[in-house]
Each structure stands twice: as structure tokens, then as C-alpha cells.
Subunit: 348 residues, 3 copies
């Protein structure tokens, strides 16, 4: 019997893995979403959980946010669907439309209602090694074989995963979640920072000078400063600065396998998608999106709200609000016009 066969019902929230609450009445859903209730059927009052459009039944809440899945919306058997006003009339008969401005946000909150984060119990595994002078806040959970260095400061309600290694004098604010096998050194973290498994924070940057007998490593004397609410994906790497700090602004989200070079400075609420890279000393202002596999050269400035397309190769500064793609980077329109021109010329 294969894993696929054994996987059983594919409804989200497998009770083996996820804590579950409920059922909840319609009124509670309205409360957490602020939704406008539409639809001819308001009989369904209690909901047991969330489910995707094609698997939901009358006791489930579902969600629609991508036109690509319109056929699934039109035949869903969900009891209620969270939806934007533009698609409210596509919700089938017998299904309640929970009409909101931001369907994905509303969905997120309903899903969290049914599957809240487990309450911390402050368990600390006896195998963990805690260095002299380390200050551990209240209700901190520490997993097996975690190592917390001398003088480190761990805020209240933090979770330190199994095998995590927190370097000497590292500080983190309240509510941080440090995944299994994360390493952090030479770093100051704000509150509610989440580091996913295998993230590497604070190691030496890639700096060396050419000496008479080969490369000589240049001392990397900066730190990594991570703002409140930042998340860093699995196996991503953020090097500490050389002469100044590497900084990740509050609220920024970094996906898996991303590289952030030494001295780079990311602003607030940036998005850096998987396998992208930001080279050393580059400054990324607030609200910038860097799509998957894009690469930014060093010593650049990327303006506020700029959007860097997937696989883009950025070799020079990008203006605030600009949309660029291609390698080397150019405006979206230019990129696609070039593609069309070349296709036309090749067909001649």
C-alpha cells in the first residue's frame, strides 16, 4: 500500500498533524471576516472546517480567489464560499456567499479560526544545552538538542526547534519561532520572527582580498538585524555584514533557498520569492517584490514598490514603482515587445 493510497481523505487539516477547533456558527464566520452574507440558503448554520471548492460539503467553508478555478466554484457543494463581490453571482444555488473585499485575507482568518496555533506549554527538553548567562523568557519552548549560546536573550513565548543553534549573545524578541536545525549567529531579531528549518543567519559574508598567496578572507564585522514579523524560508541564507549590518525590515517575507548577501538592506514588507538572490550591499526599499530565481547585483538601489520579475537579472538601479524583467532587467513592456519582435523576425 503506497503513501498515496494511505493518505486517505485529502481534506485540509489532517487531524494527525493539525490542531482543530469548532464547529462554529455562521455568525462567527461573519465576525472574523466582516463578510456580507448573500445567497438563498441560510439554513446551514454550523460549519466544521475548511475545504477546497471541489472537496467541500455543506458543513465546510471554502474560498475562491483565482479566475482559473471558476469551473470549480460553479459546481462546489460547499456550505459557504468566501468570495469577492465580482464573483458573488457565480456562487451556486444552495451555497452561502461570504462576500468580502479581500477574500484571501478572510480565508486566512477562517482557516486560523478552525486551526489555531497550539497553545505553548513552555516545555524545555532536558537535552538542550543552554550557555552561561543566557536569558530565557517566560513560556519558551526548547526542543531536543537545541543549543543556546552564552549570553543569548530569548524573548517570552519563543519556540526554539530541535537542533537549532543560537549563537552567543544573539537576541530575539517575544514570540519568535526558530525552526529545527536553524543556525543564527551575530544577529538581533525583533518580535514574532519566524525562521524555517535550515535557515542560516549571520555567517560570514563572501568577502576576500587577493593576497600574494591566494585569497585572504576579509573579517566580516557586521551583524544581521531582523525586524518584527519577518519570516525566512527553509534553507535560505542571510550573511552578516562586513562593515555595516545586513538588515531585513519589519514584515518582510523571504521564501525558501533565498540568498541575501552581506550588507544588503531590505526594507519593510518586501517579498522575496524562492531561489532569488540579493547581492552584497544592495539596498532594497520598502514594499519591493522580488520574484523567484531573480538575481540582484551588488551595490544597487531598488526603489519602493518596484517589482522584479522571475529570473530577472538586475544589473543597475531600479526606480520606485518600476516593473522589470529579463536578464539584463528591462521594463515589462519592453521585454515582451522584444520577444514579439524577435519571433516575427525569425519567422521571415
Amino acid at each position: 500500500m503506497t503513501a498515496e493510497d494511505k493518505s486517505g481523505a485529502s481534506l485540509p487539516g489532517d487531524a494527525r498533524f493539525f490542531y482543530k477547533e469548532g464547529p462554529f456558527p455562521l455568525s462567527r464566520l461573519v465576525e472574523v471576516t466582516g463578510a456580507d452574507v448573500q445567497g438563498d440558503n441560510t439554513q446551514q448554520d454550523m460549519f466544521v472546517g475548511v475545504a477546497p471548492l471541489h472537496e467541500a460539503n455543506a458543513e465546510h467553508v471554502s474560498f475562491f480567489d483565482n479566475r482559473r478555478y471558476l469551473p470549480l466554484l460553479e459546481k462546489t457543494r460547499a456550505g459557504a464560499v468566501i468570495v469577492g463581490s465580482a464573483f458573488a453571482d457565480k456562487v451556486p444555488e444552495g451555497c452561502i456567499a461570504l462576500v468580502v473585499k479581500e477574500p484571501y485575507l478572510a480565508w486566512s482568518r477562517v482557516a486560523r479560526l478552525f486551526h489555531p496555533r497550539p497553545v505553548l506549554e513552555g516545555k524545555q527538553h532536558p537535552s538542550a544545552v543552554i550557555g552561561e548567562g543566557a536569558v530565557i523568557g517566560r513560556c519558551v519552548e526548547i526542543g531536543p538538542f537545541a543549543v543556546i549560546g552564552q549570553g543569548a536573550q530569548i524573548g517570552d513565548g519563543c519556540v526554539i526547534g530541535a537542533h537549532a543553534v543560537i549563537g552567543e549573545h544573539v537576541e530575539m524578541g517575544a514570540g519568535c519561532i526558530i525552526g529545527s536545525q536553524v543556525t543564527v549567529s551575530h544577529a538581533l531579531l525583533g518580535e514574532r520572527v519566524i525562521l524555517y528549518p535550515g535557515a542560516r543567519i549571520g555567517q560570514d559574508g563572501f568577502g576576500f582580498a587577493v593576497g600574494p598567496e591566494g585569497f585572504e578572507s576579509v573579517p566580516q564585522l557586521g551583524r544581521v538585524i531582523i525586524g518584527d514579523g519577518v519570516e525566512v524560508g527553509a534553507n535560505s541564507t542571510i550573511d552578516r555584514g562586513s562593515m555595516r549590518d545586513t538588515v531585513i525590515g519589519a514584515g518582510t517575507r523571504i521564501d525558501n533557498l533565498v540568498q541575501i548577501g552581506h550588507n544588503a538592506q531590505l526594507g519593510r514588507c518586501c517579498i522575496v520569492v524562492s531561489q532569488a538572490g540579493v547581492s552584497g550591499s544592495t539596498i532594497v526599499e520598502d514594499f519591493v517584490t522580488i520574484a523567484a530565481q531573480a538575481g540582484l547585483a551588488g551595490h544597487l538601489r531598488i526603489g519602493t514598490k518596484a517589482r522584479i520579475g522571475a529570473q530577472c537579472g538586475v544589473m543597475s538601479d531600479v526606480d520606485a514603482g518600476a516593473d522589470v524583467i529579463g536578464s539584463p532587467a528591462m521594463p515589462f513592456r519592453e521585454f515582451f515587445r522584444n520577444i514579439a519582435t524577435l519571433r516575427k523576425l525569425s519567422r521571415k
Copy 2:
């Protein structure tokens, strides 16, 4: 004395690192390969091991499968060479040609004959932490500092490497090999799955909604389902699904540093080469090849047996059997015609 100097004889199968059996007679080689024996010299009957063409002597079996190395074939001193019929006449005098349809497969089996996987002894290091209710099969090896969560199920003959962290209620079938410092959570694994060191399976996908005070993480309520015989390379990352499962079909091979986003579904016997990325909710059908550093956008469908070239940027669906390359992806022929056109125009 440098490592290069100390490395000594460079024949494959250094006895410090690899278990060795043999010698074996020609008849045994024929048995495991089904080869047709050709050549004027059948005197060499016993073989002590495998070696590359340029280092083999009369007691070694070697192998030829890449036209690029033809000069090495023509002057090899190997006792026998595994070779396809098209090149059998290039095997030099005095060397036995073991002629087969699939030289690489035959080679693999001969190499495995001389270097079988070591027999498991079922050792479990006393430092390992095994959670309440975990079910450990027969003859399971568990390395130092491994952590197995509550209620996890580990099939017979599995190997759990040093420092591996297996999450609560994770299930894996018989014969899995979990490398050192792997993390697995929210996942069901089939039989004979191999996860190489540092692979990250089952962490939260990259999902967040824009709330009034910044990004809010969307609960990731799916799992990772991994089919029989799947291998996942070192430091690769596979996020669990949000509303449905992330699925890796049986027999699929994933190289190092690959990213698989949440809800992605890979079919059977796909190949995903190093540093490639598959974005969330994309469906990759069976027998698809994704070459190194390629990237697939989200919510796409890639048809059976499609081949995605290295560094390809796939922004839309790909037909079954299609060969695409470039960023954005286009048919191979179109890509290389474009290159030629542009070169010609630039020279004017």
C-alpha cells in the same frame, strides 16, 4: 601534504568509504547484465572491481556510454567494457566487450555487485529521542541525536540518520533512508524513499494575505505525500500544501537545492535537476524532465513527458511531449532559431 596528494589511488570504491565484494567471474557479470560477450580475449575470467576507462586494468570492468569519451575507450586497458552495440567494434583488442542495450543500467548493476549496500544491523544510538507512541519497525537504524516525534511510524529496515528530525505522526514505509539533518513534518512517505542530508520536507508554504498591518500568514493545512522510490537531494525543500497536499509521485528523482512549492503535484518518474523550482499549485504530469535552474510559475500544468530545458522560465502550460527552453519558455527550435536570427542581425 595536501588532500590532493593524500588522496592516493583514484580508483572508485576507496575501501575507507565503500564496502566491497568480489572478485567475480565473467559469468557473474553476464548474469547481472544479460550482456552478449564479444572480443577475442576471453582469458580474463576473474574481475576485482570497476574502474573508469583510463584507469582500469585487466582485472577491472569499465563502461562506455558517452561519445565524448571515445578516445579513452579506444585505448583502455580494462579487462572488460560494458558498451552498446553501436560501439562494440571500438573496444580494443584484448578487452572483452559486454554488449548490452542499456549500458548505463548494466554498469549500475555491475557496480552494485562489487559494492552492495551494507547490511543493516538495526543499531539505534542511545542518544536518539523517540516520542511517545512512535512505532519503529524491525531492523531500523537510528543515528545519534535523531528525534522521532510522538506517534510517528517508521517502516521496517528504515535508516534514520544522525540529527534527523521526524515530526509527530509522520509515517514512512519500509526501506526509507533519511539522511543526516533532514527535517520531515506533516508528511506521509511511501517505501524506499531516500532523503539526502539537509532536505526539508513539510514546512509551511509561502502563503500570506495582505492585512491592514502587513502580511498575515495563511494557515498551511495540507501535507506532503511522497510516493515509493522517490529521492530528494541535499538541501532541497518541499513545502506542505495549503488546502490540498503537495504530492511527489512514485519513482520521481529530485536533485539538490530544488524548491517545490505548496500544493504542487509531481507525477511518477519525473526528474528535477539541481536548483530548479516548481511554484505552488503547479501540476507536473508523469515522466517530465525539468533541467537545472529551470523555474515553473504557479498554477500551471506540464504535460506528460514534456522536457523543460536548463534555466527555462515557464510562464504558461506546456503540452505533453513538448520540449521547451528559454525565459519565457518556447519550443527548442524556436529558441535556437531566435538566437541565430539575432546574431545575424547584430553582425550587420
Copy 3:
């Protein structure tokens, strides 16, 4: 109070994280750099540390090496600035110019003077597991939960980080630094090798043959040989060879998240920047630079001192000394001429 607020003075060398020596007189700076002292102010004789141009005061040594930061040089308040002769006259009045041929090298040595590597104390954490027959040199430091396999040989003065896993019979020369959570197997390391956290050395290469019932893994019977002074970045992966060894030549520097495939051979003093990948069996000669996110196909030869640009896709051999960029790779001049041609044609 956020991490950004708490980070305090941003001068390099935060005493929480870095060991510090000094102050040192001007004569000592001259001694380690070989600088020619210029400037009208030689009153400042004692220096307490290093600082960037815009933060330095009269007691600090600073450094200028990138024309982009010329405005900062011209208004620096540093007591002394390391600078090349071309910019010595830009050093402001009252600031000593330490004029050298290689400013970055001189800077590196001054920074190291103030922040020497801490002296090893040879501490070995009692939780470490050391296999039978392992030979540990003098003054070796071993962190918590490190695992050293049977018969491994660790040279004098090595540092084995927390949770590092050194495989059976692995050998390393004197002065190596193995970061936290590194895994090394099937490998021989020279002296002064540095592996950053999460690096994966020596796992199976990505090799499989197509059998009647799916892919069959081909035994990977080679090793990884790493020369003196090599550094490998965080979460990078170097697979061991299949039939021959994977080799990293002395002095080569590999950044984070880099993939080196099985049987690849890198020469001496190469530079491989973040997220680049070298496919199996490719030979990279000495002094080659491979920029970020570049990818090299397998079975190629890259000539001495070639330079591979960022995101370059190399599908064929590259001549010694050549500069290539683009995907597929082409000479720099051709690449930028193509860009210009296409832009011109698209505007018509």
C-alpha cells in the same frame, strides 16, 4: 522596541559578537599594510578600530575602494583611510591617507589586526559522539552534539561546530573550521578548509539508470577531495564522484547555495558565487570566476581565468581567458550588442 532600534551603534565589531584588540599606533598600521603615509595631519597616532567612511571618527581607520562611494570619502571624519594612489588626493584634510596598491587587502589585514580570530582553547563538549578509532589532533574544539565517525582523522587546531556530522574515515588537515550542522562524508579535506553552516559534502551524486521498473540509482563510488584553504558557503552542496572524484582545488572560494555535481573538478583559486551550479563531470580550470546564479552543463571544460557572468547558461566549452554571459553563453560584447540590436529593432 524593535530589533532595529535595539541594534544600537552600528559601528562594525559589536563587542557582543567580536573579539577586539587595540588600540594600535599608526606605525602598527603601516607595518601590517606596507602603506605610504600621506596627509597633513599626523597628529592622530592611536587608533581604536575600523569603521566605514560615514561613521568613522578620528580614532578609526576606514577604507575606500569603490568609486561609487567617493562622496563619502570626501566628507569622512576618519582619522585614517586606506586608499589606492589614484584617490589619495580625495582624502579630506585632517585625515591620514594610507596609500597602498591593494586597498582591500590592506583593509582586510587592518580589520584582522583589531579583530583577530579568537585563540582556540581545545574545548570538547561532552555531548559529542566520537567514533571508535577516530584520531583527534591537538587543540581541536568540538561543539555540542557533534558526531565524528569511526576512523575519522581530524587535524590539529580544527574546530568542529555544534551538530556537525563527520562521516566515517573522513580526513581533514590542520586548521579546518567545520560550521554548525555541516555534513561531510566520503571526503578528504586539506588544511585550513572552512565549511559554513549547512554545507553538504560527499552525499550521492544524481545518477540513475532507466530500468524496467523505473529509475535505478547508480552506485556513486568516488569521493570529494578538497584542497587547502578552500571555503564552501552555507547550504552549498558538493556531491561525491561516481567513478572518479569530485575535486575542489586549493584556494577556491564557493559562496552560499552553490551546487557542485558529481565528478566535477574545480581548479585552484576559482570563485563560485551564490546560487551558481556546476553540473557533473565538468572541468573548471584554475582562476575561473563563476558569477551568481550561473549554470554550467555537464562534461564541459572551462579554461583558465575564464569569467562566467551572472545567470549565464554555459552549454559548451569556454576558452581560457574568455568572458561569457547570457543563456546560452556568448562573449560579453556579443551579448550586449544583441541587446542593443533588439532594442533598436523593437522601437521601429
